[in-house]
Symmetry: C2
């Protein structure tokens, strides 16, 4: 009774901060469904946040502002925040979470910096060797994205780390995405067990002998096919595949543009297909998924693209609340400390 769930939002994180952050927060505030009301704590330069708030209708919205003088930019070294930018919205937001004043932290800022700062300040869930960032990839099955992890946090992962990514991804997929008994695949260059690097072959063993619904190796083509709900890989590969995939839309657009430049007929035909194509491609736009979880830290952290739209920010806030409500971290801790864990 009277309890309020507070979620911190890095109001200075994205490329269009604080404007998109404020708009997204207002939209989210209309959509929170849990029995506990949610208060959004904007972290950042108060004057800028208040200016953005003037442009929106905040009636009925619970929010507060925690002022932060400084801003972490996309060029800042991830590990430097904790030493040099303690007055930044990023540091202050994560620190509020550490102190228990908020139950989650959402940022569209420098991904590496959020990860590094959150890991250092919040620590890891018991049993987790390395926190991981997952990313959702659209699939042929409309509305059912595949969670690929890790996508950039960890390179030179050990077999045990890959196994843990599988456990964390499976829990996220089942509790947040709603996949019952999620199919976990190991990203590899062939279906046979003996394929791939030594590390991957050892990870295969661990995953096979786990309680997970492990479907074996999956290949690059299986991501878009949606052959697995969770795809496990080292962050070096996941990050490259993610950035390659994200560049697909721009690539397609450039191809369409250069086709239209071949002549008047081509220009007209491209003009005619543009509206339909736009609708089709909307489903492919990674932006729509709005934020990815940093799993394994002792807290709830959702990270978004720098270019996050208000809708993406809205979805990140909804997601953060959901992760809190579904006790995702408790499930991870239980799974990684159970007697049946390899």
């Amino acid at each position: 009774m009277g309890a309020v769930r507070r979620i911190a939002l890095d109001a200075m994180g994205g490329d269009f901060a604080p404007h998109n952050e404020v708009k997204g927060a207002v939209a989210a505030s209309r959509l929170f469904k849990g029995s506990t009301p949610v208060e959004i704590v904007f972290i950042g330069r108060e004057a800028e946040i208040r200016a953005s708030l003037k442009d929106v209708d905040t009636s009925g919205m619970r929010y507060s502002i925690a002022h932060a003088d400084d801003v972490v930019t996309m060029d800042d070294e991830p590990s430097s925040v904790i030493k040099k930018k303690r007055q930044s919205s990023l540091y202050i937001g994560v620190d509020l979470h550490k102190k228990g004043e908020v139950e989650g932290f959402v940022s569209a800022g420098n991904t590496g910096a959020v990860m590094s700062t959150a890991t250092l300040l919040l620590g890891r869930i018991k049993g987790v060797s390395r926190p991981t960032i997952g990313a959702f990839f659209p699939t042929e099955k409309t509305g059912i994205p595949t969670l690929v992890l890790d996508v950039g946090a960890n390179v030179d992962s050990k077999p045990r780390h890959l196994y843990e990514f599988g456990v964390m991804g499976s829990i996220y997929s089942s509790h947040i995405i709603g996949n019952e008994n999620p199919r976990v695949g190991l990203l590899n260059v062939g279906e046979e067990e003996v394929k791939g690097t030594e590390v991957v072959q050892q990870a295969h063993e661990l995953l096979k002998n786990s309680g997970l619904n492990f479907i074996g190796n999956v290949e690059g083509r299986d991501i878009f096919k949606g052959s697995a709900d969770v795809v496990v890989c080292d962050g070096f590969i996941g990050n490259i595949v993610l950035k390659f995939g994200e560049s697909m839309l721009g690539f397609l657009k450039s191809k369409i543009k250069s086709y239209s430049e071949r002549g008047i007929a081509q220009k007209l035909s491209v003009g005619a297909i543009a509206p339909t194509l736009k609708k089709v491609l909307k489903d492919i736009d990674y932006q729509e998924y709005g934020g990815v979880p940093l799993l394994g830290v002792n807290g709830v952290v959702i990270i978004g693209h720098g270019s996050s739209s208000p809708m993406a920010i809205q979805n990140m806030l909804l997601r953060a609340v959901e992760v809190v409500e579904k006790n995702v971290n408790n499930h991870i801790e239980a799974a990684l400390n159970s007697p049946s864990t390899p």
Copy 2:
């Protein structure tokens, strides 16, 4: 005078063999431009090849047939060909090349099997630690694909191997694709030198200190952008990225299909855009590039997709002749045995 350049074609390799092979060979025979005439040596089941030849106009074409009883399938273990399938078109074709009876070998068969058999029978060019398969990716720059290597031949590559891939890719890009002083990039998760795995960081050092036009690290998004002419990576990553990229067209088509199934209006609008879209996507279709080189073996081997079209087969044959004429292997040997090589 009177000399003929003979190129062996695995007539049983592809999914539509020998039909597509024969059609592609006929088309290629009209296009050979060098001063030395080219004879295509079909390797495979003579009766089937002759049956296919009846459907085409072979007037003026130089060809012969070397009968092979057996066929390597896509399910055969790559390393087993040399032990168990010595009567296969694949083995016999590579063996003819080894014996000097043909100057090149072209196959749309089991990629791993071609690679394994060719490496074992032909051996490596002096100075090459590991042969590599490259693949061309379409880029935003129309007509200028990026060569990514390795894409599946080698996992757990050492820094030296990655450096060699860069040397071989650069030579291929300059002599065959025509890129002057090709830009060589190292696939990584960030631009900074300190990024990536230990192996990649060491490879960065080797590439930086080589005579190559090394532009530093490139990221997943740089492939479609065409930021580099040659992108170097371990085969584990290259293979995953290749298969992921190849699945893009199917994914797009499925998205368009599911959009059209939403209603009559959507169905009509998709019907209206289909012809234009088809033309736009043609430039994206990996198939169009027709074959990839197996670089570093002591011979000229061009490998194609199982689903190779006659046009792909034609391009593979033209490519094989070009690689012979341009002395690509001599250039590789010279580069990897020069005193300035790290």
